[in-house]
Amino acid sequence: MSTDLIDVQAPAIEVRGLFKSFGDNEVLKGIDLTVTPGEVVCVIGPSGSGKSTLLRSVNLLEEPTGGSIIIEGIDVTDPDVDIDRVRTRIGMVFQSFNLFPHLDVLGNLTLAQRRVLKRSKAEADEIAHEMLARVGLSEKADAFPGHLSGGQQQRVAIARALCMNPDMMLFDEPTSALDPELVGEVLQVMRTLADEGMTMLVVTHEMGFAREVSSRLIFIDGGVIVEEGDPREVLANPQHPRTQDFLSRVL
């Protein structure tokens, strides 16, 4: 695979034997996953399969009950690790955008730059405008999130994450809350990011995006990785009966 070329570097994300339970409900049952820099990995699976929980465990929004998460060589499940520092290198995009409604777009994009990275206002503003241009929303810097469409809000959310200059991006069903006609603009931004070499872990229902953009596709069901491989092959010729069953229902 093409990813062999950059094997010398530490993996961007390494998940080892990850378990996660909510009370008696065991959602993840031993997940092993490695994402190398520059890889775009899409995660698909039925609802309740644990794919969002897996993604949210990577930046420790969910505390694993077992196993470890290693980000660029640092075991973030070690209680001594400064998780806030590690998180600045992991951009996260949510299904429901989660923009800060009390701040305008520029405020959303500069808050963490200034409070976490301690950038000056001028520097933070400049980077914010640059990222807004990247997602095609330069003219919306002064708008409040409530005045933007869902697609625009999600693009602002992507820009907000990019402002931290992350080494990798996590996408948690980024288009699932959007009206169908707004999905394309968000996918386009993500596609550009992927083309530019961003490391991405994407939980999605967009099979077209997974097929065309991802370098690897992972199918999760019942808290375990059932099947993984080249997206075209997995989608066209699934090996496992559960993958076949799932794909027959969504495609």
Binding site: T88, I90, G91, N98, L111, A112, G146
Partner: protein, 263 residues
């Protein structure tokens, strides 16, 4: 003969108005207006209250309200955050504080602080009784405000905290820059309510005793009433409370409408 329904409704309304007007006329005729005016709306007594009822009494009422509100708000935010803390002892202390001062009559709190402490422990509050009284009001208001702030914090969607933490913001920064600013918008109406309640509760300072300089509206009016055996000062005090509270509640309603539009 069957009446039409609209005719019957009109007749019913007419009867109701007639009865109402009859009662008003009867009360007006039966009332001794001269006596009422002399006792409650006595111009001579009213004039005597100026300027002190404004420059001392109203000023003190507003000043004491502000002190108790600001003090209560600072402590209230602190206790709200403590009550939501994952650290047990913080949570227990905040819960105990809130339950204690919310559950006890405010007047009892004032008695304990203003009389209980000096008499029982020989502790003299620097600044005198009024400082004790204000501390008591701060404690009481902090308990109520803590609950209001807590509800505001919890009304902010969890996704906001997650987004902020994902950007590398610490729990403290997240609280200060993301959660509290949104929580405060939610709690503006109940906080106004607290302010109005507190404005009226400053009248409880009556029980801690006062000098001329520390009289608030109710104490001032009560003392002035006994001087002339005339209730006009009480009516004046009542009007002065309304002069503050009504514009305040109107202004906040306006602010709420304006902010609703901005969203």
């Amino acid at each position: 003969m069957a009446m039409r329904r609209t005719t019957r409704t009109k007749l019913y309304r007419f009867t109701m108005y007639a009865i109402f007007i009859a009662i008003v006329v009867w009360v007006a005729l039966a009332t001794d207006w001269v006596k009422i005016t002399t006792v409650f709306f006595n111009v001579e007594v009213a004039i005597k209250q100026f300027p002190n009822i404004i420059v001392i009494a109203l000023r003190n009422t507003i000043l004491f309200t502000l002190i108790a509100f600001v003090g209560g708000a600072i402590l209230g935010v602190l206790f709200a955050i403590m009550k939501l803390s994952s650290v047990g002892p913080y949570r227990w202390f905040a819960t105990a504080w809130i339950e204690l001062f919310r559950g006890m009559p405010a007047i009892l709190t004032l008695f304990i602080i203003a009389y209980g402490l000096p008499i029982g422990l020989g502790f003299q509050m620097p600044g005198g009784a009024i400082v004790s009284g204000l501390l008591g009001l701060i404690m009481v208001s902090s308990a109520y405000i803590a609950e209001v702030v807590r509800s505001g914090i919890q009304a902010v969607p969890k996704g906001q905290t997650e987004a902020s933490r994902s950007l590398g913001m610490s729990p403290m920064k997240t609280m200060f820059w993301v959660v509290l600013p949104q929580g405060f918008r939610i709690i503006i109406p109940p906080m106004t309510n607290e302010f109005v309640l507190l404005l009226k509760d400053t009248s409880l300072l009556f029980v801690v005793g006062s000098t001329l300089a520390t009289k608030e509206l109710t104490t001032f009016a009560r003392d002035a009433q006994s001087v002339d055996a005339n209730s006009t000062p009480l009516i004046m005090a009542a009007l002065l409370y309304l002069v503050v509270t009504i514009p305040l509640t109107r202004a906040v309603a306006w602010l709420e409408r304006k902010m609703a539009k901005q969203r």
